[in-house]
């Protein structure tokens, strides 16, 4: 914050004049008042006041200092691409082509004091037109005084008339070397005293630092807010929340940070339709979340973002043919931001307001946010695709195992049995006089029988045929009978489950029984399986030594992959000395498929 010395040294000429002037005391008091006013503003900034408070304080202090009855501070900006909205005749409000118009300079009131507050409230936005004191001040880069007829007939003639103002002075505001905006002071007296411009300029030069600080502070806070919102979104995605939850959260955050009434997320479908994914704030009969977004006007946000792939704004829905539903729900203006996912226009996030046009930097502020939404969408989509592809890989692997089992079973094993049978019959036909030949053939047949048994064991290990022929319940009982450790099996499953679920559950139990026998030194294993309410719940626990390490045990890791590929979850609890327990939940899809959902 500037020190009083700064103010003094910046005004040598004025100080020198004041020293010679008979009204030295008055000048000194003015300086003291100015410093006190600036100190109050600086205190506000240091206390973290919002920019609107700071700007209003500046307008307020300025009004008091120079005896103006109405003051306002406005920021000049270059508006982004615009759709509709108020403007000079022939401006693109009704431009049917939807083309970008030339960038225009606007001013937005950011702080106002006195009677003017009702007429030009904070947020009031208007194009910089010729004849306006602010326009002249910014163009000439100096103070401009307008009074009498010129003021009454100017662009604000009506307002000036209602307020009974007779004279106005506009002074440019330079912040960090840039023409940032202007301040306007008006009086109902015939005119301001001479020399008031210099005092306004002095004050605003010093106030500029406060504006810069307040602005930087605000930007930082917004950045931190946006970062926090982005972090919350990123966590939702990382946690694997369903896409619907991510969409709803992103839309909520958009409303919180940028919106002033409504936020909506819309997805463009490959067939040319659009779907309303989430809605926050105002609503109406046309707002049906999860349904096709219909009846939107060709010059509205949805159509224009789809056509141009760029940020689009509507400054006034009264100027958009077909915009009535939005007016009815209480919207006046809106901004739509495209969401590009993997290089393709995926959808749009739109925010709306019941007031005047949304702030001109809305698009710029939303860019980073929509970028993250796009990342979140891409992640959610990739995750869903990963889920389905994992499920496909598991299914393909199971199918291969089944085929190998069949080939062994119907082919290799059958041929072996056939060969042994033939050999045995040859052996039986060998005449008694041929000595060792019969014995040789017998030994050959026995060795082949050994191979046949081995093939049977191998094919059973590759894929237990009982699982596909009889289902999970008999297959689990068969597993239990073959287990080296006694098994208590308690299965409550009606009928058959989808094959991937049966296979997944089978391998969980199989792996646990193997572990119990090989490593856990367990004396009993309990297996509970229960299928109800679209979920198979499986619990396997032994009374062994515990300490099973899911990282080192590749069997357990494989199980986790398999179960998660089916959209299920599995957890291992194996404290040293406390036995090993596995809990597993597998969704049982009603349509018989067990795969991840699409986004």
């Amino acid at each position: 914050m500037n020190a009083p010395e700064t103010g003094a040294s910046g005004n040598h000429a004025t100080d020198a004049r004041a020293a010679r002037n008979p009204s030295d005391h008055a000048r000194l008091r003015q300086l003291a008042d100015q410093q006190a006013a600036l100190r109050r503003v600086a205190t506000l900034v240091a206390g973290g006041a919002r920019p609107a408070e700071v700007f209003t304080a500046i307008a307020d202090e300025l009004g008091h200092l120079i005896g103006a009855e109405a003051t306002f501070v406005s920021r000049v900006d270059v508006s982004g691409p615009s759709q509709g909205g108020p403007g000079p005749p022939g401006s693109p409000a009704a431009d049917p082509s939807g083309e970008r118009r030339e960038a225009e300079r606007h001013m937005t009131v950011v702080g106002s004091y006195g009677r003017v507050s009702n007429e030009v409230p904070i947020g009031f936005r208007v194009g910089l037109q010729p004849g306006m004191a602010s326009t002249a001040a910014i163009q000439t880069r100096g103070s401009v005084r307008i009074n009498g007829e010129k003021l009454a007939n100017g662009p604000f003639g009506a307002i000036v008339g209602r307020l009974g103002m007779c004279a106005a002075i506009a002074t440019p505001i330079v912040v960090e070397g840039r023409y940032w905006g202007a301040t306007v002071a008006a009086t109902s007296r015939a005119d301001f005293p001479a020399g008031i411009e210099a005092r306004m300029t002095d004050f605003m030069e010093l106030a500029a630092t406060a504006i810069a600080n307040a602005q930087a502070d605000q930007e930082l806070r917004e950045l931190a807010d946006t970062q926090a919102a982005l972090r919350r979104l990123a966590m939702l995605v990382a946690r694997g929340e369903p896409p619907e939850a991510v969409f709803a959260a992103a839309t909520r955050e958009a409303l919180r940070h940028f919106g002033n009434g409504t936020a909506r997320m819309i997805r463009y479908e490959p067939d040319g339709t659009a779907t309303l994914l989430a809605n926050e704030g105002t609503t109406g009969p046309h707002v049906r979340v999860g349904k096709t977004w219909e009846g939107y006007p060709p010059a509205g946000l949805t159509a224009t973002v789809l056509r141009t792939g760029q940020a689009v704004r509507v400054d006034d829905y009264r100027d958009v043919p077909g915009g009535e539903p939005y007016l009815r729900e209480g919207l006046r203006s809106a901004v739509g931001m495209p969401i590009h996912v993997n290089g393709r226009l995926w959808g749009m996030i739109a925010i709306g307001s019941g007031g005047g046009p949304l702030p001109p930097d809305t698009e710029q502020r939303m860019t980073q946010f929509t970028g993250l939404v796009a990342t979140a969408v891409a992640n959610a989509q990739n995750r869903a695709e990963l889920m389905t592809s994992r499920a496909r890989i598991v299914a393909a692997a199971d199918e291969t195992r089944r085929r190998i089992e069949r080939d062994l079973h119907d082919g290799t094993q059958q041929q072996l049995v056939s060969l042994i049978l033939e050999l045995r019959m040859v052996q039986a036909a060998v005449p008694a006089g041929l000595g060792e030949l019969g014995g040789e053939l017998s030994r050959l047949a026995e060795r082949l029988a050994g191979v046949s048994d081995q093939v049977r064991e191998i094919s059973h290990g590759i894929y237990p045929a009982i699982l596909s022929s009889a289902g999970l319940q008999p297959a689990l009982h068969a597993l239990g009978r073959r287990s080296a450790v006694p098994v208590d099996i308690n299965v409550r499953i009606d009928g058959r489950l989808p094959e991937p679920v049966e296979v997944g559950a089978y391998y969980v139990v199989s792996e646990m029984l193997t572990n119990a026998a090989k490593h856990a030194r367990a004396s009993v294993v309990a297996v509970d399986a229960d299928a109800s309410g679209g979920m198979l719940r499986l619990r396997v626990r032994d009374d062994g030594i515990g300490g099973a390490d899911p990282v080192r045990g590749s069997g357990l890791t494989g199980l986790k992959d398999r179960i998660e590929a089916l959209g299920g979850n599995i957890s291992l609890h194996s404290p040293r000395g406390g036995g090993t327990a596995v809990s597993c939940e597998l969704p049982v899809p009603a349509d018989g498929r067990a795969a991840g959902r699409g986004p």
């Binding site: 069949r406 079973h409 119907d410 094993q413 059958q414 041929q415 049995v417 056939s418 042994i420 049978l421 033939e422 045995r424 019959m425 039986a428 047949a445 029988a449 046949s452 048994d453 049977r456 094919s459 059973h460 045929a465 009982i466 596909s468 022929s469 009889a470 008999p474 009982h477 068969a478 239990g480 009978r481 073959r482 287990s483 080296a484 450790v485 006694p486 098994v487 208590d488 004396s523 009993v524």
Partner: protein, 220 residues
């Protein structure tokens, strides 16, 4: 065979080589193979027309290569309950065995590879044709060996376990006495002791005994 007429058999297996092998074995062992089928439909047609004493059926056949043989066996049981049936399978499962046995007497459920023990296989076929019900020893072994926490089988002596397994396989008391080289009277004593220890009822037929013992072994 000493009987005046060779028992007639129908064979069903989609593997022609193996089927011909078994047919040849049966033809040389006192049976008359009156028809061969490659799937369930052909088998049913054959059984209906030839009305053989015995049908030997592969469990897995076209079109589904699943349990077509089981389904055909069920139909035969309903239509011609007097036909003895042997179902051959590459692997044996207790629920399939129980299903089959529940459908009536003169029934066999065997691993396919049993056909390669020529003498034993022919002996089994003859026993089934003569009224016995037979369950594959490997399945019985799986049931007997299954570990249980409070195992009722722990009450049995090793000899009694052996006898119990043979009962489950479908051996008669005479058959058991030959297998374990004791007198039939000793076998009877073992059987009575087993039934008492396991709290099993006395069965009036060999078939019922197999069913009861299997059921006990599975559910213990």
């Amino acid at each position: 065979m000493t009987s005046s007429r060779a028992p007639q058999v129908v064979l069903a297996d989609d593997d022609v080589l193996l089927r011909e092998g078994i047919a040849s074995l049966l033809d040389h062992s006192g049976f008359e193979v009156v028809g061969q089928a490659g799937n369930g439909t052909e088998l049913l047609a054959l059984v209906r027309s030839a009305q053989p004493e015995l049908a030997i059926i592969d469990i897995r056949m076209p079109p589904g290569q699943a349990t077509e043989g089981l389904q055909a066996a069920r139909v035969i049981r309903e239509e011609l309950p007097g036909t003895a049936i042997i179902v051959l399978s590459a692997h044996v499962e207790v629920n399939e065995a129980m299903d089959l046995l529940a459908s009536g007497e003169r029934l066999g459920y065997l691993l396919k590879s049993r056909v390669t023990d020529l003498a034993e296989f022919i002996d089994t076929v003859k026993r089934i044709n003569g009224g016995a019900s037979v369950v594959d020893p490997s399945l019985v072994q799986e049931l007997v060996r299954a570990r249980r926490r409070r195992d009722p089988l722990d009450a049995l002596s090793p000899r009694e376990r052996e006898v119990l397994a043979l009962m489950a396989e479908g051996a008669s008391n005479a058959g058991i006495s030959q297998r374990i080289f004791v007198t039939e009277g000793t076998v009877e004593k073992h059987v009575r002791s087993i039934l008492t220890k396991l709290d099993l009822p006395e069965s009036d037929t060999a078939h019922r005994r197999v069913l009861a013992v299997l059921k006990f072994l599975e559910e213990r």
